[in-house]
């Protein structure tokens, strides 16, 4: 889960805020551009935001004996490209920091960078790199890796702030043990949920998705995919 309020030294907190801010600003512009260019996709944008909202509210028990929650950022990253998720993810993180004392304002920059920047980009990269794989596999990988990468990043941020006697690597493995291992089953679950939600989206919003270029990596198949989706 996110880094708690006050648990990054001021210098780190400020640095991560500075790093995350341009992504969020760019993401906000990306949202208004998307709405302008694809007004028919506004509903889908709502779906992507709502999906992260639900998933990041559900804490699940995991194999390590602790619990964590999924992120849901992979879906929007695949449909709208990652910058949009930088803005949507920030809204979710602000909500949790202000109302739930989960995460925090001083750690918002770091948490935005892990959940709303690194996660979506890793998920999107996986989706694109697996261009030749079956569509469900690509979605699964995008969702699961966006989830996992978020917490690998969180562990990295904490290891940088608290290297301890064993140095960065030692601290990193400790924090990875806390965050990343816990996250593995959750990432798989999120990947499967993603496959289900995308099935629904494909059959109900096929034309919108193809207008956004979600299927465009394989132009020869794109048409059939849409047709398939519409007839399913």
């Amino acid at each position: 889960m996110h880094i708690a309020e006050g648990f990054l030294p001021p210098l780190h907190a400020a640095a991560w805020t500075a790093v995350a801010a341009p992504f969020v600003i760019h993401g906000t512009r990306a949202i208004s551009r998307t709405i302008k260019e694809h007004p028919e996709a506004t509903l889908l944008l709502g779906a992507a935001g709502a999906f992260t909202f639900v998933l990041s509210a559900i804490k699940l028990p995991s194999v390590t004996g602790s619990s964590s929650h999924p992120t849901g950022t992979g879906l929007g990253a695949v449909i709208f490209r990652p910058p949009v998720m930088a803005a949507l993810g920030t809204i979710v993180l602000l909500f949790q920091a202000l109302l739930l004392a989960h995460g925090g304002l001083t750690t918002l920059g770091a948490n935005v960078f892990s959940m709303a920047v690194v996660g979506p980009w890793v998920g999107y990269a996986a989706f694109r790199l697996l261009g030749r794989a079956p569509f469900s596999v690509r979605i699964f990988a995008a969702m699961a890796l966006a989830n996992l990468a978020t917490y690998v990043m969180t562990a990295t941020q904490l290891a940088l702030a608290f290297p301890g006697q064993n140095g960065f690597v030692g601290a990193w493995s400790v924090f990875l043990g806390i965050f990343a291992i816990t996250q593995v089953p959750l990432a798989i679950i999120e990947g499967l949920v993603g496959v289900l939600i995308f099935k629904a989206l494909r059959s109900w919003a096929g034309p919108e998705l193809s207008a956004l270029g979600v299927f465009s990596r394989r132009p020869d198949h794109a048409g059939t995919k849409v047709e398939e989706a519409i007839h399913a």
């Binding site: 999906f51 804490k59 699940l60 995991s62 004996g65 304002l105 924090f175």
Partner: protein
């Protein structure tokens, strides 16, 4: 039918994974204190134990007064998200149905409310 079978299989896999994670996790956490604490608390505990010199320099502005209130607020977050998601999915399903029936009715001129979708429309009937 095949489509529903795979959906069902995925749902079962999710439940199975959840159960396995919970059972393995319960065994794992037979140590002290609470089971299934959040990874965020696990991390802060680790920092407090290993870096006694560090004091958090900022406190949450508002903190839910009890675990019950907190889980209620988390439930509210999930409900808002799920409600919005359900609304969007329902609207898209209905929109697609109308699109289809508009395309079915070839005698009438198309009155498509979303001209931007037209590029992808030709395949909507085949």
């Amino acid at each position: 039918m095949r489509k529903h079978a795979s959906t069902l299989a995925i749902l079962l896999a999710i439940v199975a994974l959840f159960t396995v994670a919970m059972v393995l996790g319960t065994r794992q956490s037979t140590g002290d204190g609470e089971t299934f604490i959040g990874t965020d608390s696990a991390a802060t505990t680790h920092i407090e134990e290993n870096h006694p010199g560090y004091t958090p320099w900022f406190q949450p502005i508002f903190e839910p007064s009890s675990g019950e209130v907190e889980s209620g607020l988390f439930a509210l977050q999930a409900a808002l998200g799920a409600g919005a998601l359900g609304f969007v999915l329902g609207t898209m399903r209905e929109r697609r149905r109308q699109r289809r029936s508009a395309a079915d009715d070839s005698s009438r001129p198309l009155s498509d409310p979303e001209p931007a979708c037209d590029a992808a429309e030709p395949q909507s009937r085949g």
